[in-house]
Amino acid sequence: MIPGRSPAVPAALAALLAGALCLTLESVAPWLARFPANWTLPATDWAGTFLEWLLLGLKPAARWFSWLLGYPMLWANAALGQTPWPLMIGTATAIGWYLGGLPMAALGLGGLGFVLLSGYWVESMNTLALVAVSVPLALAVGGVIGVAANEFPRIKSSVQAALDVMQTVPTFAYLTPLLLLFGFGPVVGMIASAIYAAPPMARNVILGLERVDPEVREAAVMSGGTRIQQLLLVEIPSAARQIMVGVNQCLMAALSMVIIAAVIGGFNDIGWEVLLTMRKAQFGLALMAGLVIVVFAIVIDRMSAALAHERRRGDPRVAYGIVALSVLVVLVFQARLPDPSTLTFLDPAAERVDRALGEFTANNGEALNQFRNGAMFYVLLPLRIGLDEAALPFTWGFQWTATMSAGLFAAAAVAGACLALSGRAVSGLLLVIGSGIIETGIANLPWPFVLVATFSLAWVASGRRLAILCVALLATVLVSGLWERALLSLYLSGAAVFACAVVGGAIGLLCAVAPSIWRVVRLVCDMLQTIPLFVFLIPVLMFFQIGEFSAFLAICAYAIVPMIRYTRHGLVMTPPELLEAAVASGATPWQIMRDVRAPYAAPTVLLGLNQTILYAFAMLVIAALIGTTGLGQSIYLALGSADVGLGVSAGAAMAILALICDRLVQAFAEGRRTALGL
């Protein structure tokens, strides 16, 4: 871009001016710093009143539906609960064999074997029963939505927009209205998970049908198929792989949500077990229950992923043989089969873990605390409330004074001016803005500055339309009285995203240059992506107790994966002829990385960042369980008090934040892509 011509300089200047104005006028016009409470609208109450009225109207139908769904649940529960465990394990092994040969069969056997030995068999079967009912529901709903969007191009874009929004609405936010509609009980979790799991299915169905080779589609038309025949005999089977990817994602989403829904309680499932043991600080048991969930997730994920791969299937006769064998085992040992709930083989191990953990924290508690406090005092707190409030004698050893602020600004201004003089005006301006943000703290940012900065950012990213949209969305959050909580959420997820971007980017870079590292990292990434959100809380809680830092770590652990993956992928997919041209021009490997690979990877890396942001927001809400402030906490509290208004509006605010970030980053990525002519 030609400096001066690009909109970035005036935009950054505008944001800087707004920020400076707010800071200087703060004392004369306090409404600049803090949005006055009497300017807000009681949007939360309105939403509550309206929703309660609406839900009340829907209630009879919902109750009827819930009653109806109670039956399949009962059946699934009975079927899974009453089936002797050797038969269950045998069936899983047989399915594994059929889908992927020996490795999958071993996975099925080993996985369910572990579940049995852990003593959580009954709870696991209850969870599985929930999944077994919600997944077909989600598949049907998602499939119908996907096919409908494909059939009626007119509704396609709005369906896709709705799916986008649904992806950003936090999981807990679904639960509150559902709770009101369906009452307490496992059916709510089931319906929530069906709602949560349907969009990935719909998305993949749409994608798959879209990608059917046009000639294949036309061949079906020219063969004289009716529309139904074309769809059922040609298009859907041709899209089968993509649809199977949807089934896989649907299963994983459903499992994740079923476990999250355990917070409602009232059902003896494995998610509940995790919560319970975590609350009682029995981390050994919590870890084991968490492992059971992870094992389930891995078994379900790998087996359903095998569906999407066109791999040679195992011999079905062997599979039948395995099932027959397990039936035989049941018949022969019928009376002597142990009751799975009495199995406690692994309890000693859990206790040992507990004890070891106790010892570890006792011995290293000081170091752990120091680590946590260091991160809190020197990084998180200043980011949250600014240097002026975070630097206290108690934390930093001295009091931050106005002179120091002036010094900071002066230093930033000088450095910024130097950058500007060397032709990097935008970087210079950003540096000054950054110093202002650190000084003030994200949670204390003046609202006019946030609005202007967002507007400028969106303007640079894409143009007026996006800018207006973003500001309008932010303004709704502002007047609805959720602003401060929104900033708090923004701060924590922002900090986590920043950490993920730096660390994940570095790891991605490392993996791109060293394939051997990637082989290891990849396994870890696969693992982290399979683990349901909930389970991330256990280890951080074990070491760092309840608090913002634990939440921060949990968010990072979950959200770092896309950053690593996309960075590496972007860097390694540079076209070989570009690299050869660079080598032929005499560039060193480092120069190639900086001048050829990195720019080429930029759009992909940005997409990774986008995913990381969305993941961070998703985890933020779950992390409310272990102590965060902000919107996530509100959503969680609303769930506890069945406050639909608060739950839904806080959920909407969260979705708005996620949506704005998503649009901004996507727009930047798109800009980079067009700049590269991709």
Binding site: E215, A219, V221, M222, S223, V234, S238
Partner: protein
Amino acid sequence: MPRDGASSGPTVRAGGLWQVFGANATVALPDEVALGGSSADIAGRLLEKGLNPAVRGVSFDVAPGELFVIMGLSGSGKSTLVRCISRLVEPTAGSVEIEGEDILAASKARMTELRRSRMGMVFQHFGLFPHMTVLDNVAFPLKVGGMARRARHEKVMPIIEMVGLDGRERAYPRELSGGQRQRVGIARSLAGDCTVWFLDEPFSALDPLIRRQLQDEFLEIRTRLNTTIVFITHDIAEALKLADRIAIMRDGEIVQIGTPTEIVLRPVDGYVSQFSRDVARGRHAKVGSIMRTEGEMGECGGPGLRADMTLETALASCMSLYDPVPVLDDDGAVIGMVHPADLASSLQVEES
């Protein structure tokens, strides 16, 4: 050489066919047509509006049993034209008749019916159903037509044999080579006993050797069936080899329709002659096309030229002659004269 008498009407008739891509094309086109001007003028105004007139007022007839080749550069609208005729896309304006029936007025059900019983289509990238075996692919038109499994398999086996795929009928498309895949495509389009056969660049995606082989097989298949064929290609050699008549397209319009000889020897403009520039004319044009039937007829004898000899062969046999050479029919009677000068000049590749 259209076969069958011309007693019945044309099998395919396209009249004033327009295909305009873009929003509100159906509104914009009549407006512009009402403003008048040649189709090029109308197209120009549509382009200014940001619309894309891919087919611009095209009319032609295809006689029963004829092999009609549409040829033109990439993007000239060939595929779009044939998609209009088979109604895979809805033409913006104009009419299409197949065996006298206005198919643009046909209901959905009637279209399905027509496609099952009258039309067959072969695609450039084969368009095979990836999840079906060769047998199921070929039998698919019969399956959707409601024929029982055994019956349809029995019915398509001879077709599979005809295209030389017997023994491979249980294979999946991904297990076949490109040439074999297109044989499946051809077999499938023939399963429904079509009377009009559309082929959209069927051999373009294949290697030259396989292409020639399939062209020969295609001609062979063609002699056994009595279908009317609309064949699309961008390869002049292929067009000249296969066609009864060729239509040359440029920017959505047909600039010339004629027999291969006419296209080669009497191109209407530079665009058409550019196509034939690189082909050895002597190999495609026949003695009949330059023979003079008026004026003085010579004696029987000479090197014994025939009207259906190619110019190349003729030249070889009258290399050293300067006088007009008689052309004979099967009985040895003189039917015309060829001046070696004409022969030489028509063989000269156009300069420009």
